[in-house]
Symmetry: C2
């Protein structure tokens, strides 16, 4: 049942993919950057920062990737559980279910007479009736079964790609504080560009959005740096 108009369906599909990239990339840029920045204030060798950074990227991309996979899988399981329940309700308590259809039409503003007629028409076909209940009583869209796997890959790879940006200066430069300067410039620039395009996609003022995303990265790194200095023995 395609009740959204066509152009909107397209919008929703692309935004799933983009949401995954945005989630993975923004955390991948921010968290390894902040971790490396924090350690720069606490240790004197870049080796330990690179090892910690790589461990963090491996951990983060797997956790986020599998997290994305699980989220997709859970959504699918949930949909199928509810679908079975709706079929059994339409079978066993049709009058109560018909009342729920009428309530929907009452809430969108149809007259009493129209509510009854519309509920009669909807409930003539069982599949149509259940599809209606799933979408408009429960607010559930049928999830794409392949989406869980795609989502996992997109998020995980974006996280890893994002994480290599702040970490790379520590590989080529010897002292932590020197590497931190280049890492900060590279990462904050990337966050700005990333935030700009992310905002354009979601229809927000892109300059404001870019500033917001950059500020989060700077704040997280600053906090990590301060906290690590505080706990340094």
């Amino acid at each position: 049942m395609d009740t959204h108009l066509h152009h909107e369906e397209k919008h929703l599909r692309s935004s799933n993919f983009l949401t995954d990239i945005v989630i993975g990339m923004s955390d991948g840029l921010t968290v390894p950057f902040a971790l490396a920045a924090g350690l720069s204030g606490a240790v004197s060798s870049n080796t330990i920062i690179v090892v910690a950074g790589i461990a963090e990227i491996a951990a983060g991309s797997i956790a986020m990737g599998l997290g994305g996979y699980l989220a997709g899988k859970t959504e699918l399981d949930h949909y199928e559980t509810e679908l079975k329940r709706e079929y059994s309700e339409v079978e066993n308590i049709p009058e109560k279910e018909k009342e729920e259809v009428k309530t929907f039409f009452a809430n969108i503003g149809l007259s009493k007479d129209m509510q009854d007629k519309a509920a009669e028409e909807i409930s003539m076909d069982k599949k149509q009736w259940v599809d209606f209940m799933m979408k408009y009583e429960l607010g559930l869209d049928k999830p794409d079964p392949k989406r869980a796997t795609k989502s996992a890959l997109n998020i995980g790879l974006s996280y890893a790609a994002g994480g290599l940006v702040p970490l790379s200066p520590y590989i080529f430069i010897d002292t932590p504080l020197d590497a931190l300067k280049i890492s900060a410039v590279l990462t904050l620039l990337s966050l700005f560009v990333f935030g700009f395009f992310k905002s354009r996609i979601t229809g927000i003022n892109p300059w404001l959005g870019a500033l917001r995303v950059t500020l989060i990265g700077a704040l997280a790194a600053g906090a990590a740096f301060g906290v690590a200095k505080l706990f340094q023995l």
Copy 2:
């Protein structure tokens, strides 16, 4: 406009809060655990692991918390932009908008005659018409304006709370590999319990869900440990 039935509204509200806690907590348990595990394979002092862990928790909770805040804020901005556009469309191209209402009713299975009558009734009141378009053409629910701030706090605090579990053994025990054993037991147990309740809430088989979540944590930690050993100089 409350078109979802009452019990479902309640379900959706609690699941927003739970989603935040679940997002924050599962990443908070998983990523600092995996980072500490990775470093345990690469360094000989727990001090550096505690400093890195605390830096990561500070960075992660700020990045995720502000990330949650931004996501909520973006949703609100997006809703308001679309709301203005719908009001102007209903004003300027009412015939086209009425066609879209009819298309909606055609897709859910109403007869041609009912589509026309229902579209007439909906479009009699401009606010009702726009609310209908927002929700059923665009699939947008009015976001709670306070939600962005609440979401930020919930996610950030859950991340920090989760992160202290795997890190605590490294504070009280001297050698990394000994601390890792206790950290692994504590964290995997927490992930199991957490995964169990998370699955119960989302209506999934709780034992299967608990296993899934625990497995992600173990895999992320294992990968971080392996990768850190590989890159260790």
